[in-house]
């Protein structure tokens, strides 16, 4: 229990640091949201008029005061107003979050499916050429930029073949291409890590023993190898959530989808600090939570990371994290030509 509390403490620290860093970096850039919104030549306002608006919105106060005020606001659950549009940030986030969540969950789901398929075929697939081909898929996938994949998918499947409309699609149609776009770059590292750890697990003596006792390939794969190879992949999946956020920015912009990603892209372009800070907080919370869940899952998945009884909870859990880190490291470090 105290382990969980400690992890939550760490999470809050991470959140505070991310918030402060984002705040300082945004403040350090030349120009601010008032500049972006009201000093734009489209409006033709004089410096005095802009200054009056700056004062009305409280942007003339010292940075420290603004920073503390924004923290106080967040603690009260008040995310403030977008400088660019004046809309309540909580409304913007609430409107954007569901569609991004659906996109992210489906994207991650497809990525896991793709990753597992590629990894299993690349390691246990029938025929040397098939295995080799699939081993080459992750490097290919990882080198495709998300926006490029999106544009090419649109060009081929929507504009050329006309299978799914980009504009005026029903909710299901509207998800197909974006989910594929998002899944491709995430599937690649998953498959890579999974393949590496399968390769490693296969070398271990127990595999030979199980095989000698007459286990079929699929029994071996599903019951023995996969379970052991899963941990580093799970860690990777947690970390890939970051990629998912980045991917959503690009995917939503290319596909003109509403969501956190598009909101972020627009807020960055307009230097909309309140919106950006809210996005930073939301994604940091999600990132930290997902990685916390992943860490807590280790003992559930791997008997070696459990010790008998509840009294020794703290010690073994710590070693669980360390053990997972070792596994992950081992999986990621190159160990010569796998083929």
């Amino acid at each position: 229990m105290s382990y969980v509390l400690r992890r939550i403490g760490q999470a809050i620290l991470v959140l505070a640091l991310a918030y402060t860093a984002a705040y300082l970096l945004l403040a350090a850039l030349p120009g601010d949201a008032i500049m972006a919104r009201y000093a734009s030549p489209d409006l033709g306002l004089t410096p005095e008029q802009i200054q009056a608006i700056r004062e009305a919105l409280g942007y003339d106060k010292p940075l420290v005061v603004q920073y503390l005020a924004s923290i106080a606001g967040f603690l009260r659950g008040d995310f403030g107003f977008s400088v660019q549009s004046g809309a309540a940030v909580s409304d913007l986030i609430a409107a954007a979050l569901p569609s991004t969540l659906i996109l992210a969950v489906l994207g991650l789901g497809l990525a896991v499916f793709l990753g597992v398929t590629i990894a299993f075929t690349g390691t246990y697939g029938k025929g040397r050429w098939l295995r080799r081909t699939f081993r080459n898929v992750p490097p290919l996938f990882v080198s495709l930029p998300v926006f490029w994949v999106g544009i090419i998918l649109i060009q081929i499947f929507s504009f050329r073949l006309g299978w799914v409309p980009v504009i005026g699609a029903d909710p299901v149609q509207a998800l197909i291409l974006p989910v594929i776009t998002l899944a491709v770059p995430i599937a690649a590292p998953l498959a890579q890590v999974l393949m590496r750890s399968i390769d490693e697990v296969r070398e271990q003596p127990f595999v030979t023993v199980v095989q000698a006792r007459g286990a079929s390939t699929s029994w071996l794969l599903w019951r023995n190898v996969a379970r052991n190879a899963l941990l580093p992949t799970l860690t990777m999946a947690g970390l890939l959530f970051g990629e998912l956020v980045g991917g959503a920015v690009v995917t939503e912009t290319v596909f003109a989808r509403a969501g956190i990603g598009q909101l972020t892209a627009q807020a960055v372009a307009n230097r909309d600090t309140p919106v950006l800070l809210a996005v930073v907080v939301v994604s940091t919370v999600a990132f930290v939570t997902i990685n916390l869940i992943v860490d807590l899952l280790y003992p559930v998945l791997d008997a070696r990371l459990r010790t008998g009884g509840r009294r020794g909870r703290r010690g073994p859990s710590e070693s669980a994290t360390d053990r997972a880190a070792d596994l992950e490291l081992a999986a990621v470090l190159p160990k010569g030509d796998p083929s």
């Binding site: 850039l29 030349p30 120009g31 601010d32 500049m35 972006a36 000093a39 734009s40 030549p41 489209d42 409006l43 033709g44 306002l45 004089t46 410096p47 008029q49 009056a52 608006i53 004062e55 009305a56 107003f81 977008s82 549009s85 004046g86 809309a87 309540a88 409304d91 913007l92 409107a95 954007a96 080459n136 490097p139 290919l140 080198s143 544009i151 090419i152 060009q155 081929i156 929507s158 504009f159 050329r160 006309g162 980009v166 504009i167 005026g168 290319v254 003109a256 989808r257 509403a258 909101l263 892209a265 627009q266 960055v268 372009a269 307009n270 230097r271 190159p334 010569g336 030509d337 083929s339």
Partner: protein, 551 residues
């Protein structure tokens, strides 16, 4: 490892090539619609693609195209400016009078106009509108309208007449009340704060226009429906009564290739901002381009003459002679971007031809620089008294291909030994830097507005101040004469006098080599042949009132 890498690379490049070939060969052009020029048909919802989301529906801020595209269709104005002739015609006001020194305007209003919430558009309401637009309200973060100058107050002077008073002559006011910046709103809407005009509130912004906001998905889509009881279109229009369309869906598609491809594939009807390189795709049958003139100050460069290096007129003249504008237009743009012949677009009010000042002559440029004492140093860059002639240009993010334009200029001026660098940064950073002549010495920009005042808007010390004639640090005006000339454009009471004032100011800008106009900037729309009767207001915002869709 190396074998795998090689194999992967090969696979990747093959896949890329295949995908590119597949992606690049354009979709089959949709078959040409029949009966394209027949009688207007009613019904149908038009899909309009915007590169950006709108950020407010407060009319004085409607200069931003995504905002203006909606405001223009949900509001009416006191007067109607014919986009072809730029003449002012009756609309909500049946007539207007102005006193001799243009300090009092009286409008007579129609009495049958209602807002979409049922409230009446009457004299009190009109005064409330113009008072807000002419004075602004900083406490509610509602800025004053750029188009309204010297505003004092408005009064109801009869059942259906209103009079507006000005502290100084304001000859541009009649045109100002015809622009989208003066779109009339219901009393309740006028009580909203700046925030309440933002996204999430679109359905509560009530105008009297032919369309009404019916639905809004923040950041992606805004849907308008036609008002069936609309019956107060400008009398000079052929079309009267309700709009032909049932509605319009404004959809945001930021990615250029997606916006273009969607219209080319027939999934949407119109897209705004077709970049010059994409124009060729609309040459296919069933598609067309609509290039709307913006009738204002041309896309061009302002030389900040207070900078030590640019304070010498010979240096400015050398830059002008050293930049090959024809090459810029030919390599980066299309025939929809005509070479500029003066500060203003040829269709703008008050335009005069000053093209003789802007001829390309690199030899003359080199000798001017020599004369001014700028000699080539060992690195091939001009130098004088230890300072090098290296200038920073901004990147005009809202303008088409600004970065490419400046890059080409960089190449052209490098031949003369002038070093050009581009200020990189987002809009807020560009805006901040452009106020400081130590950071930006040459400012790339344009402004569209169909009135004489546009010249003043761009160059006057207390408007956009693109020349930094007003030194913001010391709050002093460097060239008083320029300011006097520009001020006259916006304060002479009669059209003939304003015309003369505008011509004098343009001549002064040209003679002093303060600016280099590059091209007349259009708003380019790409549309399918299904769309008929599409037009724009005087600065290129779409008007859908008379637009109809073929069957």
């Amino acid at each position: 490892m190396s074998r795998i890498t090689r194999a992967a690379l090969a696979a990747a490049s093959t896949a890329a090539a295949v995908a590119l070939i597949a992606g690049c060969s354009a979709a089959d052009p949709s078959t040409s619609p029949t009966d394209a020029s027949g009688e207007p048909q009613t019904g149908g919802t038009l899909t309009y693609l915007e590169p950006q989301t709108w950020n407010t529906l407060y009319p004085p801020s409607a200069g931003f195209y995504p905002n203006g595209g909606i405001v223009n269709n949900i509001t009416d104005r006191l007067l109607y400016q014919n986009p072809d002739t730029l003449e002012l015609e009756p609309w909500i006001a049946t007539e207007y009078t102005v006193n001799d020194d243009a300090t009092e305007y009286t409008f007579t209003l129609r009495t049958d106009v209602t807002y979409s919430d049922g409230s009446v558009l009457d004299a009190e309401n009109v005064v409330k509108n113009i008072d807000l637009f002419g004075q602004g309200d900083p406490d509610r973060a509602l800025p004053v309208s750029e188009a309204i100058n010297n505003y004092d107050h408005g009064e109801v002077t009869g059942d259906d007449t209103v009079t507006f008073y000005f502290t100084a002559p304001s000859p541009g006011f009649a045109q100002a009340v015809s622009t989208i910046n003066s779109g009339l709103l219901s009393d309740e809407t006028l009580d909203r704060t700046g925030e309440q005009f933002g996204p999430g509130n679109a359905t509560d912004i009530i105008g009297s226009g032919p369309f009404v906001v019916a639905d809004e998905e923040i950041g992606t889509q805004t849907s308008l429906t036609a008002r069936e009881d609309y019956d107060w279109a400008p009398p000079s229009l052929e079309h009267q009564g309700a709009a032909y369309l049932d509605g319009i869906d404004y959809i945001v598609a930021g990615e250029d290739s997606v916006r273009v491809g969607t219209v080319v594939a027939g999934q949407a009807d119109i897209a705004r901002q077709i970049e010059a390189p994409d124009e060729a795709q609309f040459a296919a049958s069933g598609l067309s381009l609509y290039a709307a003139s913006t009738n204002g100050v041309n896309n061009g460069l302002s030389f900040r003459f207070n900078d030590d290096r640019l304070s010498d007129i010979r240096v400015r003249q050398a830059l002008i002679a050293g930049i090959d504008r024809q090459q810029i237009v030919d390599t980066l743009f299309t025939e929809n971007y005509p070479l500029a012949t003066g500060a203003l677009a040829t269709t703008a009010l008050g335009y005069i031809d000053t093209s003789e000042y802007y001829t390309y002559d690199p030899d003359k440029a080199a000798s001017l620089l020599e004369e001014a004492g700028w000699t080539l140093n060992a690195a091939g860059i001009r130098e004088k008294d230890g300072t090098t002639l290296s200038l920073t240009f901004n990147e005009a993010l809202p303008q088409p291909r600004s970065k490419e334009v400046v890059t080409l200029i960089q190449e052209q001026l490098a031949k003369l030994g002038v070093e050009v660098s581009i200020y990189a940064g987002d809009q807020a950073a560009q805006t901040a830097a452009s106020l400081d002549q130590d950071q930006i010495q040459v400012y790339h920009s344009m402004v569209g507005r169909a009135d004489f005042d546009v010249l003043k808007s761009q160059y006057f010390s207390h408007n956009r101040n693109t020349l930094l004639n007003l030194d913001t640090a010391s709050d002093t005006v460097r060239d008083e004469e320029l300011d006097t000339l520009l001020a006259a454009v916006a304060s002479e009471p009669t059209t003939a006098e304003r015309e003369a004032a505008s011509a004098a100011a343009q001549q002064y800008l040209a003679e002093n080599a303060y600016i280099l106009p590059i091209f007349e900037e259009p708003q380019v729309f790409g549309l399918t042949d299904k769309v008929q009767g599409f037009s724009t207001e005087s600065v290129g915002r779409p008007s859908f009132y008379s637009t109809w869709l073929v069957g």
